[in-house]
């Protein structure tokens, strides 16, 4: 994985809370056997009309959304299924970070393993971001702080090991495999 240290971009805002993984990538697209190409189907049921044409009312179809790498969303983003297709779709679309007051556990874990930053912020910061679409946000993973265009800067929590892996481009599986001697010792102690 490529090291990831900083994401700096204008934002796209979807104000809804509880955006579930069926909205991020509907189940009918899960018949794929690869990770690639899911960006076209991200938010498919909100993004396209019944005839397949872009829904002009949906934020990702507005010209200002082009090139934005940070998605700001209402609370409890990514709830629902464990499908890793959700972060794959957002990354393939071009997002590198999601900001909300609350992000669902499995989505957060999946996002971190793919280089999509799941950033939780306090309610005041979230409210400001939700009402200032298109603002420039600078996310610095090394210091775990994000800076707004106003100059205001807030810290965000991020699991220490995931941060280490992202900053250094380290694959978690390599670390886990380095523990195989411990795993073998553990297996030898079990009753089965």
């Amino acid at each position: 994985m490529e090291p990831l240290q900083r994401v700096r971009s204008r934002t796209v805002v979807i104000t809804s809370s509880n955006i579930d993984t069926d909205q991020i990538i509907p189940a009918r697209f899960l018949t794929t056997t690869t990770k690639e190409g899911l960006g076209r189907q991200a938010f498919a049921d909100w993004r396209y009309l019944a005839d397949g044409s872009p829904n002009p009312d949906f934020v990702l179809n507005r010209p200002a959304a082009a090139g934005c790498r940070i998605l700001v969303a209402g609370r409890n983003f990514g709830c629902g299924s464990s499908r890793e297709h959700a972060p794959w779709a957002l990354l393939d679309y071009g997002f590198r970070a999601v900001i909300s007051t609350e992000i669902a556990d499995i989505f957060k874990s999946n996002a971190l393993k793919n280089g999509l930053l799941p950033i939780t912020v306090d309610a005041a910061t979230a409210d400001w971001l939700l009402t200032h679409e298109g603002t420039e946000v600078d996310i610095d993973l090394a210091t775990a702080r994000l800076t707004l265009s106003t100059g205001a800067s807030v810290g965000f929590p991020i699991e220490a090991f995931a941060r280490h892996c992202l900053l250094n481009g380290v694959d978690e599986l390599g670390y886990l495999r380095s523990k195989l001697p411990d795993i073998e010792r553990y297996e030898a102690t079990r009753p089965w």
């Binding site: 104000t15 509880n18 699991e159 090991f161």
Partner: protein
């Protein structure tokens, strides 16, 4: 040693390396359940690194999400209708063969929804750690296992090492006391709990369902409750194993037998949490006050008694309430009772077990599905299908005019082509009422099997107590 919860005991027994500030715990996984949808990318990682599945014997593979439910397609007289689904099914057959995994494939008599067949086989056991690339893995917590859903990258981690890197979650006691009223079941109970703690109330926690009401539930009912823990945001939900658990497991094909059985039961008895154990959070639920429940919106926390009316969203700055009601075609203050419906689905890992089908049959016996309503009944496994046929339930369903199918996830998420049409109202025993979950534009109302069957008969949203 400090008093420990059920969760603490299972967690600490599987810590290969404890967590530190800098690194998560290395957690050993006893049982890895896999299916066709979330594994292809994980097998690709193994191939690219030339790694084997490290413990094939701890892996149980089946196909359930993309598989057809029509007998003709399952047993090969006509091809699988959805091409991409057919490719995914063939991919799992190839991956299982290449990596030496036992696969309950499409024509296997033991096949079914992964969360239904693992308990049925006795593979799910108390005190185990169980994972699957599927959020409803929480179902297995009904046996006192620590069971949770993972993503495909983590599926690859388990394949390669039989372990996961995990931070220890917090614990949340759901204390339930009192008798459930007639016509009120496990599904109503869990919908009520989700309504009370909210769809993110369990985020960061493993739930433990406790109290006299929980102890009085059958295993099928306990599985319904634990299954929907994820709908409250909790990755896992557990119930302490007891005599009900042991009686369910005894004699099942993969349960311990002979002297091993007695030793296992002795181990399992020690799993219950210590009386003085402290939880990070708790809530008390009065079971005797719960009514048959139904969802009205687009997440499982938007739920009311079937006799109730939709609460107003006034004063809320959250656009979700209004957006959800617009999607559902409802308005504030609407009563749901008596609203016409198009489709009824009885099945899924939430309510596709034998007792669920027996409940539906109680209502449907000697009655007919209302004209214009489609009733789809999909058993959770092929074994349940056979049992339902032997007990005469299938005949009751067919006589009522229902469509009786082969097992699978089916219309819960519509991956296999079993979908609800745009704008149609579907009364469903599944677990998610998200927009488009059962088909593009589909409007889902989550209920118990009793309420689903009663609504099918009347063609309208119906209080099941009118018919039982």
């Amino acid at each position: 040693m400090a008093a420990r919860t059920l969760f603490d005991k299972v967690w600490s027994a599987h810590e290969v390396v404890p967590e530190t500030t800098d690194t998560p715990a290395v957690l050993y996984i006893d049982l890895h359940l896999i299916h066709e949808v979330t594994t292809p990318q994980a097998f690709s990682v193994l191939r690219s690194l030339s790694l084997p599945v490290r413990r094939p014997g701890r892996t149980l593979a089946t196909m359930d999400h993309s598989t057809p439910t029509s007998s003709d397609q399952v047993f090969g007289r006509i091809p699988i209708k959805v091409d991409a689904a057919a490719r995914q099914v063939r991919q799992l057959e190839k991956n299982a063969a290449d990596f030496g995994l036992e696969l309950f494939d499409m024509r296997d008599s033991r096949r079914g929804i992964v969360h239904v067949i693992s308990p049925e086989l006795g593979a799910t056991q108390p005190g185990m750690t169980i994972v699957c690339g599927d959020s409803h893995t929480s179902t297995h917590g009904a046996f006192g296992a620590l069971a949770f859903g993972i993503g495909s990258t983590e599926v690859g981690h388990v394949f390669a090492t039989q372990c996961l890197l995990q931070r220890k979650p917090k614990t949340f006691a759901i204390n339930v006391e009192g008798d459930l009223r007639p016509g009120v079941g496990a599904k109503d109970l869990i919908l009520h709990i989700i309504g009370k703690i909210g769809v993110s109330g369990g985020t960061g926690y493993v739930l433990e369902y406790r109290g006299s009401t929980i102890r009085g539930l059958t295993m099928d009912e306990r599985m319904t409750v634990c299954n929907m823990s994820i709908e409250a945001g909790a990755r896992g939900g557990m119930i302490a194993p007891d005599e009900t658990t042991f009686a369910y497991l005894k004699g099942r094909p993969r349960a311990p037998a002979g002297g091993d059985w007695d030793a296992a039961v002795a181990r399992w008895r020690a799993l219950a949490g210590d009386p003085e154990a402290i939880f990070d959070a708790s809530v008390d639920i009065d079971a005797s006050a719960i009514e048959p429940m139904i969802t009205y919106g687009t997440n499982p926390g938007m739920v009311i008694p079937v006799t109730g009316s939709i609460p107003g969203g006034a004063g809320s700055t959250d656009p979700v309430h209004e957006k959800a009601l617009a999607y559902m075609g409802f308005t504030d203050g609407d009563a749901l009772l008596g609203k016409p419906i198009d489709v009824v689905f009885i099945g899924s890992c939430t309510n596709g077990r034998l007792e669920d089908l027996q409940a539906a049959a109680r209502v449907l016996k000697g009655r007919k599905v209302a004209p214009g309503v489609k009733l789809l009944i999909v058993p959770g496994s092929q074994q349940i299908k056979r049992e339902a046929e032997a007990l005469g339930l299938a005949q009751i369903f067919k006589d009522a005019g229902a469509d009786w199918r082969e097992s699978g996830c089916s219309m819960c998420l519509g991956m296999n082509g079993d979908t609800v049409g745009p704008g149609q109202y579907a009364v469903s025993t599944s677990n998610r009422n998200f927009e488009g979950r059962q088909g593009v534009g589909a409007r889902t109302l989550l209920v118990s099997p009793l309420t689903a069957a009663a609504s099918a008969v009347k063609g309208r949203i119906t209080d099941p107590r009118e018919l039982v």
